[in-house]
């Protein structure tokens, strides 16, 4: 007797990302600048001023329920676009299994944006990394420090105008110069053979 496997999903089907984008457009017509689509991935490009209400709506709306912040990062479009930075929020719904990407434009002369830690606590370290690498200041963040680079490091390394091989030796991180200096001092005590 043939056995047929039947799969029953108890979860409601998720929304098409285009429909989510439409919903955001309806709710915040002033804020949405553009909706971009690439390989079935839909991004909603928004202004940064109302980012908290937009993301709060996406998080709290029972039909969207985008309760999981998959990633928070930034992009530097130096000399490619008018607005230099974009902070990218990749959102996912545990309940409905649908995705949406929200991109907030941040100009170079005012790199401030509201922190989303009150909505997703996991954004804490993502925002610290974003601040470390791009110098985007998340206002309202509970503990905005560098997370990867040493705390007295100068500059934000993932900015496109940062030199790839870092600063010259004299202007390098003081901790590293200290190590080089100390190893030179201790060299006379090494065994030469």
């Amino acid at each position: 007797m043939a056995v047929t496997q039947v799969r029953i999903s108890v979860f409601p089907a998720g929304l098409n990302p285009k429909d989510i984008a439409e919903k955001i457009k309806e709710k915040f017509p002033e804020q949405v600048i553009d909706v971009a689509e690439f390989r079935d991935q839909v991004s909603v490009i928004v202004k940064k001023e109302q980012i908290i209400p937009i993301l709060k709506y996406l998080h709290d709306d029972p039909l969207l329920s985008l309760d999981h912040l998959q990633d928070l990062t930034a992009v530097d479009y130096l000399k490619k676009r008018d607005v230099r930075f974009e902070v990218v929020y990749n959102l996912y719904s545990m309940r409905y299994h649908h995705h949406i990407r929200v991109r907030a434009q941040v100009p170079e002369n005012d790199t401030k944006i509201e922190s989303v830690v009150p909505i997703w606590a996991g954004a804490n370290w993502h925002e610290r990394e974003c601040y470390d690498m791009f110098g985007i200041v998340f206002s309202g963040h509970p503990d905005l420090r560098r997370i990867l680079m040493p705390e007295d490091w100068e500059g934000h390394p993932l900015r496109k105008d940062y030199p790839l091989q870092g600063p010259e030796l004299q202007k390098d991180w003081p901790g590293f110069i200290e190590v080089l200096k100390r190893s030179k001092e201790l060299k006379e005590f090494e065994w030469e053979g």
Partner: protein, 189 residues
């Protein structure tokens, strides 16, 4: 046969005695090593101290990146570093050697240097992998371009990451280097 060395002031110095070993039945087994049967071996300080050192290189347990995985593989059952007397030691105070296994970032450099400084003399450094040797593919702001900029490296082990066999080869080379040392035990070194 006892012959004393007569000093210039005419006093015989009893401490300097020349022993004619040919009459005692000593058998020379290799250079600087003689055996008086059944169980007395006569050798030089260099020979026996270097032999002791090279037969028990204890590296401090210190991994930085993917090379550390290969280092662990070299220590595991298949390649088994223990048969060379190489046992990973948890504290640099009790170790003889540091294997810099992986990418050394500028932020990590003070830590690596401190671990090296805590190792008592005699101490050795093995730079394992392309990153530790030269910086490797990471010619960037955050990576030290070769850990020899702040450490006296004895053996460079290239590879990305090097296979456990390569690390073994490097450790055997370090053993050969220790075997050739002269008077490193002496306070006048």
């Amino acid at each position: 046969m006892h012959g004393g060395k007569r000093l210039s002031n005419g006093i015989k110095n009893e401490r300097w005695e020349v022993i004619d070993t040919s009459a005692m039945g000593l058998i020379q087994v290799e250079e600087d090593v003689k055996i008086l049967p059944p169980n007395i071996i006569i050798t030089s300080f260099d020979k026996i101290i270097n032999w002791g050192r090279l037969s028990s290189i204890w590296p401090t347990t210190f991994g930085l990146a993917c090379c550390a995985i290969e280092m662990m593989a070299a220590g595991a059952a298949h390649n088994d570093l223990d048969r060379f007397g190489i046992i990973f030691r948890g504290s640099p105070r009790q170790a003889d050697c540091v294997i810099v296994a992986g990418t050394v970032t500028k932020k990590m450099a003070p830590v690596v240097r401190r671990v090296y400084d805590q190792i008592p003399e005699p101490r050795y450094v093995i730079a394992m992998g392309s990153c530790a040797c030269t910086g490797g593919v990471f010619k960037t702001y955050s990576t030290v371009q070769g850990c020899d900029s702040f450490l006296p490296v004895d053996v460079y082990v290239p590879g990305c990451p090097p296979r456990p066999e390569t690390l073994l080869e490097g450790l055997v080379m370090l053993q050969e280097k220790i075997r050739k040392e002269k008077a490193r035990w002496s306070p006048w070194r």
